[in-house]
Point group: D2
Chain length 376, copies 4
Amino acid sequence: MPKSDRPLTMPLLNDRLAVPDAPGLPRESGAWLVRLSPGASERAVQGLADRLRGRLLEAAFHDLGSGIVSIGAARRDMLEQTLIEAGVAADLIAVDTPHRLVRRDAVPAGSRVRVAGATFGQGFVLVGGPCAVESRAQIQAAARAAARAGIHVLRGGAFKPRTSPYAFQGLGMRGVELLAEAGRATGLPVVSEILDPSHLERMYPLVDAFQVGARNMQNFELLKALGDVDRPVILKRGASATLEEWLLAAEYLLAGGNGQVILCERGIRTFNPNTRFTLDLATAVQAKSMTHLPVIIDPSHATGRPELVLPLACAALAAGLDGVMFEFHPHPEAALSDGPQALRIEQLDELTQRLARLAEGIGRGMEPARGDHPPA
Amino acid sequence: MPKSDRPLTMPLLNDRLAVPDAPGLPRESGAWLVRLSPGASERAVQGLADRLRGRLLEAAFHDLGSGIVSIGAARRDMLEQTLIEAGVAADLIAVDTPHRLVRRDAVPAGSRVRVAGATFGQGFVLVGGPCAVESRAQIQAAARAAARAGIHVLRGGAFKPRTSPYAFQGLGMRGVELLAEAGRATGLPVVSEILDPSHLERMYPLVDAFQVGARNMQNFELLKALGDVDRPVILKRGASATLEEWLLAAEYLLAGGNGQVILCERGIRTFNPNTRFTLDLATAVQAKSMTHLPVIIDPSHATGRPELVLPLACAALAAGLDGVMFEFHPHPEAALSDGPQALRIEQLDELTQRLARLAEGIGRGMEPARGDHPPA
Amino acid sequence: MPKSDRPLTMPLLNDRLAVPDAPGLPRESGAWLVRLSPGASERAVQGLADRLRGRLLEAAFHDLGSGIVSIGAARRDMLEQTLIEAGVAADLIAVDTPHRLVRRDAVPAGSRVRVAGATFGQGFVLVGGPCAVESRAQIQAAARAAARAGIHVLRGGAFKPRTSPYAFQGLGMRGVELLAEAGRATGLPVVSEILDPSHLERMYPLVDAFQVGARNMQNFELLKALGDVDRPVILKRGASATLEEWLLAAEYLLAGGNGQVILCERGIRTFNPNTRFTLDLATAVQAKSMTHLPVIIDPSHATGRPELVLPLACAALAAGLDGVMFEFHPHPEAALSDGPQALRIEQLDELTQRLARLAEGIGRGMEPARGDHPPA
Amino acid sequence: MPKSDRPLTMPLLNDRLAVPDAPGLPRESGAWLVRLSPGASERAVQGLADRLRGRLLEAAFHDLGSGIVSIGAARRDMLEQTLIEAGVAADLIAVDTPHRLVRRDAVPAGSRVRVAGATFGQGFVLVGGPCAVESRAQIQAAARAAARAGIHVLRGGAFKPRTSPYAFQGLGMRGVELLAEAGRATGLPVVSEILDPSHLERMYPLVDAFQVGARNMQNFELLKALGDVDRPVILKRGASATLEEWLLAAEYLLAGGNGQVILCERGIRTFNPNTRFTLDLATAVQAKSMTHLPVIIDPSHATGRPELVLPLACAALAAGLDGVMFEFHPHPEAALSDGPQALRIEQLDELTQRLARLAEGIGRGMEPARGDHPPA
């Protein structure tokens, strides 16, 4: 259910999509992260919000949780004065980047994002499944294989963004239902791509996380809609998006009120013709250090080559990232989309076991497996 | 009004978004363009459509006008048999590209697309205006300047896709209304960008053409929605889109039933840091020769440099393209978005006059000016 | 003959490859263009040079001709003092770019570069010929066709930089000789690519201009060697070179003492798979406005598609550039390298005639044809 | 000393830079790898070579060592006949790629390349040092720090390819001498970049390996010269080179007779402005699996950011690559080139220790340290 229709258990401090940045403000103005002292009461925070509104401060006020709020476009002296009047002790951190809420100094320890039972931002997480849900039998077989192999989250596309109007467009809502059913049957959380805000209401009860695809990373209407729900979002980087554009797309989600965001690097478009895209691991590492959000990679779409999934997943783990999303299929040669880039079910065990050994070897560990491990 | 709600004056032959391509079909199967003989009656075409449906041919049947239809995924012998039975004489052209309806051999002479009084695909057409509609005064001043200078179509963004959630997001529907009002006041057709299918109904009565921006070129839900309306669409190439992806995005519109499509090259993303994007003129020329659609360029977004608009517009004209879209602003230094790339009003006359001289010099001519040329 | 072995008719003012930029110099220091007053005597210039050297100014002193010199890394007050003592009146122009000698303000009217009888930087110039010299018959046939069609300069590769060690590597010096012979027979100037400084001495007597290929744009040893000869250089932009890197490669030539440089844009490497490279016309236009050097394009290598040569050549002409270099071949289907991108001889007349009409239409004109127009 | 001047201890079977590929050859023709049976005598190989020459086979004959030879452009039946007559038992492997000698099936177990005491292609190897040799004190300090930290090979540029003619160009041969001296003092092998064939003779006695920089990857004259020496070459991938172009550049070296080649990925040019280049790890992994050559990465040049060196080095190790080359400097803030991308000496221990732990954790191990570990 969209947040704005829910009974609130927390004060809603979020002035959505605030005023444009005012370049004419005096030098001591700007955007601020405010770290409230640990013991700040909810009432104190509410008092602060009221005071800021009463002053008609041109401020956006975002509660990031953990006693950290973000204020847009305020003068330092007025902000300090307001904090004093509200009796709230706090540190002020000037924000000098266009992205504010995703900055690592907002949550220095890093955010953890829970997708049903699986936690991103802690152990290494595996998200796997077929490119598209094609039939009950196919997605059930995939789900069982995923659970057996220790994959943590099941993926499967239902609304497929296809380059050609004549290509298989996915099963639509029927596909989402089949995915959810397969998830329930195996105890695996499920994630599926959302293409349009109008699908949100029907998908919401069925998926544990929404995926925003590379082509939609700057579909701002979709981002605004997803900013208003309490479901995690896996936000893929656009194939020609800069780091800043990617972080600002995530900022749309947080500014909308949804802090449950996982970043996913899936390859950028370059001259290199040997892989579908070029996996930009360095930028994924930068995203990890610049934000508090979990960051994963998708080597299947990045390269289109199943033999590269394992070495690149190892690379991501060794480089400190939080997980990997990849495609496998019970019958790659019969897949309705992207079959050639899918791993086979028989390859899953080697993948998960080698990653587990590497995770152990570097003293980090994998996210514990969550599936019900039913017999085949 | 969306087409599907309109009373039809033509038989609706359009089976939307047909079956997936069936790779298992025998060798002689495929997609076909069918050129009916000049005198083919509407009744004959209807009979052909009925017969194809009666046979449960796995066929998509698109009426491209001018007695040309497109058939997807049929066997040649069955298709020939059906044509004979329907008493329709025709040439069959095998389609060997993923894109079918946009191919030049569908309309060898090239399509002309009318945006209210302005025709694309004939004389050279100028589309100009501010990046964003900011106020009544601003857009009225821009419209008057456009009409005076002989610009053919007024552009102005109302829903702005902005990288940052904190940047000016446009005036929304209020901006569309102001744009329409400025168009009426000066006799200029107007075009504005649409971001989401949910805006379609309200924008429809106000704009003479929809623009699909580069970030939305593969927003397939939006393309499907626009395929169902009888309004021209200016389809910008995505910043990382290949020629084939661009043509297939256009194919979505034609396959949906909307043949009024203008392609616009606006720069691709490359390593080159000196222009915002890299204008890919060669691909625009290829798009012109491979399709029957008019093709224009947008040097303002492609380069971000106003001083490059005129030389690149001259280049487009000399290379045989159909028009140019560019940004100007009454007060670039005060613009709320993309001011630095806008031309000044005082520069418009030189632009239009030099292009008119060049158009005359190469024996082609400009599209006749349409604005009412009101006194300033 | 390399310049340094020639008897000098002008004082040699050129301190080659001066000191590194000294970031620690006081604010009023920097590099300077010095425009001497029109009547400045050679003796005055010599006196200025002597004084600068006497002061151990950390200065590079380049004589650009036309009474303009460039001084690197000097303090303004010391420079002014030296000019006063030398009795030389001059304007000082602070240089704030890494490239100095190629800047347009060094020669505001633009440089003209003569390749034997053909002048670049005035009328539009056509440089054409086969990718590689393959035999006497082939290059003679090409030369005659070029002369007949009104092409101004004959090109032909002798040392071929080939991606594969097993591909045809060119005829080497024998190819240069055959090219020179064909040039003499038809009265056409000839240009050929140089790959290595060690070839310079033998090629020097035979070619009217050297070409530096895209792969060698940053072969700085080659650039230094060519800076020391009195032969024009056509400097191709590297496939992944920025505008600044391209201009600095030209700066190597000018800093070495060779001001006869023609810039040639030949496509950059991008994700676009439909043309070999992506012609970056906007950057060519920028290069033209930022430097005093003639700028041409090579649509054959940029696109690999002969059908794009004419429209892109027209675009370059209309955009204000100085010429086009392209490939044609008497028998493209039998060519030993790059045959598919070559025009046929029968297509040359249409090319040259349409460009001539366009040049006339925009009031600019072509460079007068130079070949001897021998009967076929 | 160039090979061609050395007394030969092995029969010279190498017909340099053979005939062009002959597209007209019958279908059963092609290039071949010939694996001789283990016990093949040198005399048998010589007999085979003589017979092939005697037949005027259009063949290039390369001895890859280990009883494997490569034959270019031969007909299968004639090749089999010749093997029978020569009494040589062998497997024939048809070569269907433009690159032949670098293919993994030529040396399935992978080649090991020794740079003095350090072996590439076995344990993980660290190559480190300053971008440029600047002074005796600087390079000696760097060498001591490298030896102490367990770095295996000392790098340092003497001939610097600099974008600007006014930038520090390196110390030239003096720099090579200082580097060699520092290597001797610490027991570390040294590698330095070569820019031009004319430097080869003087550098040969001083360096343990030559580096070919990204800008020179397609300087084919340089590659030909290096193919003729018995010194290892670290071949950097060009910033806009495809995988195939990179492998063919290596092929030039092997075809010239030098099989001691190490491939180094150092970032490709893409639109991404946040790192200097984009490290293309996936292509490095592909190069490793497609060739028998060791493959390393250079994260310093790829990203320009010292904080990314360690995570990307860990990624390379985990992905199965053979080493890392990086820059450090005793005083990065005073470096004459690329200072901001250099690590500090104090950071070396953490780098080498964390890589050693990871190498141990995955059961692979580091190359043993070679420096003399002198006291500071």
